[in-house]
């Protein structure tokens, strides 16, 4: 590796914390709106995974590619998504980036390098790899692509095929596994039989990085190392962070299957509280200052939600119902 990796600074940490906080506050709002019956579709939250997710999104550069997954509200905001567009998709505003045609966690702006996930887990891995291949064919250098996945998603064929194909072409891809102990209700004991998900990296011949997903500092540094390695030509990098999903699979799920021992173990800590504690203990900011940040964010989120609720909804009579870009290819004999 040529260039030296800069250590994570106080200002990096605080910047990342602020995005984590925004993500947490925004998701709390989404949960409230869900309970009030105002959300279109499902709500799947990333509570407890903000440190990891933000560490990915915030350390990518303009021109990089990011394909977030289900629990990446933090990483999305860090990569440039807004509170406004988040609320627009969840509340079904026509002005959202997906215009009501797809929503919530499936949103994205591919032209900005912010890919719109499909539900099928693992599918974004080869697609980000292919995007990086295209960049290489165009002669562009220096960009990386990152995508996130869960412990469950590592069992898909797409994960295997995508990571392997990326490794064969030594593409600058970072695959970030949030090992949050469950895939919906399925515990890791029913998901994989290797000692650690990181063991898979050797099998694919890719870089391996382990992070404590509850510790922002560790996540930032680990992702920084992984992104650096990919950018410097080290090929794909697999990052595995251990943590715990602190909510049900979706807001419909009461998480009754949670093993209480996990909750009390090291992975059960809340990364946001730990980061906050770190800021205060280091004397970087006072508890009052941190509390004020939260209130500020809450005000912004509430005001944005109020604004979005007054926006127009998608109008079926105005939609062009076009799945193809060429008008002459559209079905004219559809039974209706």
């Amino acid at each position: 590796m040529s260039k030296k990796i800069a250590p994570v600074t106080q200002s990096d940490f605080i910047k990342a914390y602020r995005v984590m906080l925004t993500s947490r506050v925004l998701e709390e709002k989404l949960a409230g709106l869900y309970r009030a019956g105002m959300i279109k579709g499902g709500v799947f939250l990333g509570r407890g995974q903000e440190a990891l997710s933000v560490s990915v999104g915030i350390q990518l550069r303009r021109g990089d590619i990011f394909a977030p997954l289900i629990r990446d509200q933090g990483g999305r905001l860090a990569f440039g998504d807004s509170i406004l567009d988040t609320l627009r998709t969840y509340l079904g505003s026509q002005l959202g980036s997906m215009r009501g045609r797809d929503g919530n966690i499936h949103r994205g702006r591919p032209r900005d390098g912010y890919y719109a996930m499909i539900s099928h887990l693992g599918a974004m891995i080869p697609s980000v790899a292919g995007a990086l291949l295209a960049r290489r064919l165009k002669g562009e250098q220096g960009a990386v692509g990152a995508t996130c996945i869960g412990d469950g998603g590592t069992s898909t064929g797409a994960f295997h095929e995508g990571l392997n194909a990326a490794a064969v072409d030594k593409l600058p891809l970072i695959v970030v596994v949030a090992n949050n102990q469950y895939a919906y209700s399925t515990p890791n004991t029913r998901q994989y039989a290797c000692a650690d998900l990181l063991d898979k990296a050797a099998g694919y011949g890719v870089g391996a990085h382990k992070a404590d997903g509850t510790r922002l500092m560790d996540c930032l540094q680990t992702l920084r190392n992984a992104i650096h390695a990919a950018r410097e030509g080290g090929g794909p990098q697999l990052v595995v962070a251990d943590l715990l999903r602190l909510v049900g699979h979706g807001e419909h799920d009461d998480f009754a299957y949670l093993d209480p021992k996990l909750k009390k173990s090291a992975v059960g800590s809340d990364c946001l509280l730990l980061a906050e504690k770190h800021i205060i203990e280091q004397g970087w900011h006072t508890a009052d200052e941190v509390a004020a940040w939260r209130r500020e964010t809450e005000d912004e989120v509430n005001a944005t939600a109020d604004r979005v609720r007054r926006e127009p909804l998608p109008d079926p009579s105005e939609d062009d119902w076009a799945a193809l870009s060429r008008p002459e290819y559209r079905e004219q004999y559809a039974a209706s």
């Binding site: 045609r101 295209a134 392997n164 194909a165 799945a323």
Partner: protein
């Protein structure tokens, strides 16, 4: 003489030569030139743009999609159409939904060496155009001539939407043409391959040639059969089909696909709903038998429609 297979190779060569966004990706397509040699010598002529892929259909299509988002024009080769089912998810859930969801089109071409050949058996013979046509967001083409193989592949590369290019292996070597055309009917337009007045046969792919042979056989019985080559099954040129049925009053649909829910079913449904009054007799269809494609040449020959089974069906239709 240029074969159907060579036309496909030449179309890819021209696409690579004229459009820097184009690259080819698939198993064994590099210096080996592909299982059927459809990319022979192309990796030497276009270094770095004809790439061998690992044995991963899902990743191959997934990578093509990402590349297309970044402005590339990938042409993906499936070694056989049958193996495209391992990449089905990326085709139907990612490529086909991208434009509708995000307004970003997905200009990929997926080449499927399709259809039966003697000895191909259950896993190297399938005709999958109907399943791909079922999903919104895909263009599905089935060239039946050397000329169409060439011009439609070049056109497919220029289309911003994902194109499933069903090239028929049975036609690879024995269909030949002297020259390749510059201009052609656009994708989405069917062609009257033979004009007639007594009945219409609507067909596509290798079955065009069986149908034309059947039509020739019926000349001896005094019948003039019109044969419509669909060329693309999605979009389906319903206007040309209806116009032909308006001339002949009788319809026979022929396809090498399995019968359930395929192209013949779709054509019959459209004619029955849009052109019932044009029909002088109940429409008919001939498909492959509803079993996996058999391996033994004798069984295979009886599994698929042939000129004689098509002619027999047409005679029954004409007597209705």
């Amino acid at each position: 003489m240029i074969t159907y297979l060579e036309a496909i190779r030449l179309a890819q060569q021209k696409a690579l030569a004229t459009d820097p966004r184009v690259f080819l990706y698939g198993q064994d397509i590099g210096s080996f030139g592909g299982a059927f040699k459809a990319t022979k010598n192309l990796s030497a002529e276009f270094p770095g743009r004809v790439l061998d892929a690992p044995l991963s259909e899902d990743a191959i299509v997934g990578m093509a999609i990402g590349a297309a988002i970044e402005g590339a024009r990938p042409i993906v080769e499936m070694q056989f159409a049958d193996f495209s089912t391992c990449g089905l998810n990326q085709i139907v859930n990612h490529a086909a939904t991208l434009f509708y969801r995000t307004s970003v089109p997905c200009p990929i071409v997926v080449r499927l060496p399709s259809g039966g050949t003697s000895g191909g058996g259950p896993f190297h013979s399938q005709s999958l155009e109907a399943i791909y046509a079922h999903w919104p967001g895909l263009v599905v083409v089935t060239p039946a001539t050397v000329e169409d193989a060439y011009t439609m592949l070049l056109e497919a590369v220029n289309i911003d939407d994902p194109v499933i290019f069903c090239e028929h292996k049975f036609l690879y070597y024995h269909l030949k043409a002297d020259t390749l055309p510059e201009a052609a009917l656009p994708i989405g337009k069917a062609r009257i391959a033979r004009a007639g007045r007594d009945a219409t046969i609507v067909t596509h792919g290798a079955m065009l040639h069986e149908s034309l042979a059947a039509a020739q056989e019926l000349v001896e019985d005094g019948y003039e059969i019109e044969v419509v080559d669909l060329r693309s099954v999605k979009p389906l040129d319903t206007d040309t089909i209806l116009a032909s049925v308006a001339r002949t009053g009788r319809l026979l649909c022929v396809s090498e696909e399995w019968p359930w829910g395929g192209v013949t079913a779709e054509v019959l449904a459209r004619v029955a709903t849009e052109g019932f009054g044009l029909l002088d007799a109940a429409p008919m269809r001939v498909n492959a038998k509803d079993t996996p494609v058999p391996y033994h040449p004798d069984l295979w020959a009886a599994h698929r429609p042939t000129a004689s089974t098509i002619a027999a069906a047409a005679r029954r239709l004409l007597q209705l």
